[in-house]
């Protein structure tokens, strides 16, 4: 079936560096994408979203890039902080009221 997958299960970065988390999606009909952050034992929290009519969207310290040609999504976190340590999920919505999540990437930030 259709799925959203992630390239890197674990990403370790130095505090202050930039982080890039990648995601590949398989359904070319997907038109809405979301990045979530999940801390241990908690539910996922919304970070940023992007619709398929955009290539880039910026938030506070975060940027999401969408490349529809290769069906690739990335989350960039600037000046990564210890509080950014968590599991990050990308999710796609296929306009069918279903939000499908990828496997997730664990981000570890070292001092």
């Amino acid at each position: 079936g259709e799925s959203v997958g992630l390239h890197l299960p674990t990403l370790s970065v130095q505090e202050g560096d930039n982080s890039i988390i990648n995601c590949a999606y398989s359904n070319s009909a997907s038109d809405y994408f979301i990045w979530y952050k999940q801390e241990s034992g908690k539910g996922p929290q919304f970070i940023i979203d992007i619709r398929s009519n955009m290539d880039k969207r910026q938030g506070q310290r975060v940027t999401v890039l969408l490349n529809k040609t290769v069906k690739h999504l990335s989350l960039q976190i600037a000046a990564t902080q210890p509080g950014d340590s968590a599991v990050y999920f990308c999710a796609e919505n296929k306009a069918t009221d279903k939000l499908i999540f990828g496997t997730g990437t664990r981000l570890q930030v070292f001092p």
């Binding site: 038109d31 809405y32 979301i34 034992g41 908690k42 539910g43 996922p44 929290q45 919304f46 979203d49 619709r51 999920f89 999710a91 919505n93 306009a95 009221d97 279903k98 939000l99 499908i100 999540f101 990828g102 496997t103 997730g104």
Partner: protein, 117 residues
């Protein structure tokens, strides 16, 4: 403002016992509702989603069922739990904007950690 409540937070149940997890949403009407399951260290698997009362779609064959007896109430059930039902269960909702089912983010509850022993 909208809030989502999910309970209990943790649950330990013996194999073969029934299950009932409840989720309610406040501050909105006619939301989309979801049940996800997350195994330890893994991603989120969509179990059920609902676009209205008694309108529920099942994503994967399993030992679980879902019901939506009221607009903002979503219940996950099982008649007989299996060991493989252990996991972190998350309820979520997403809004309907201007009467249309426009893609928006989903908002999650705090989850229920179920351990079947």
């Amino acid at each position: 403002s909208q809030t989502i409540h999910q309970w209990p937070a943790t649950l330990v149940q013996p194999v073969g016992s029934p299950l009932s997890l409840e989720c309610t949403v406040e501050g909105t009407s006619n939301p989309n509702l979801y049940w996800y399951r997350q195994a330890a260290g893994r991603g989120l698997q969509l179990l059920f989603y609902s676009i209205g009362i008694d309108q529920i779609s099942s994503e994967v064959p399993q030992n679980l069922s879902a019901s939506r007896p009221q607009d903002r109430q979503f219940i996950l059930s099982s008649k007989k739990l299996l060991l493989s039902d252990s996991g972190f269960y998350l309820c979520a909702w997403s809004p309907i904007l201007w009467g249309l089912r426009i893609n928006t983010e989903a908002f999650f509850g705090h989850g229920t950690r179920l351990t079947v022993v």
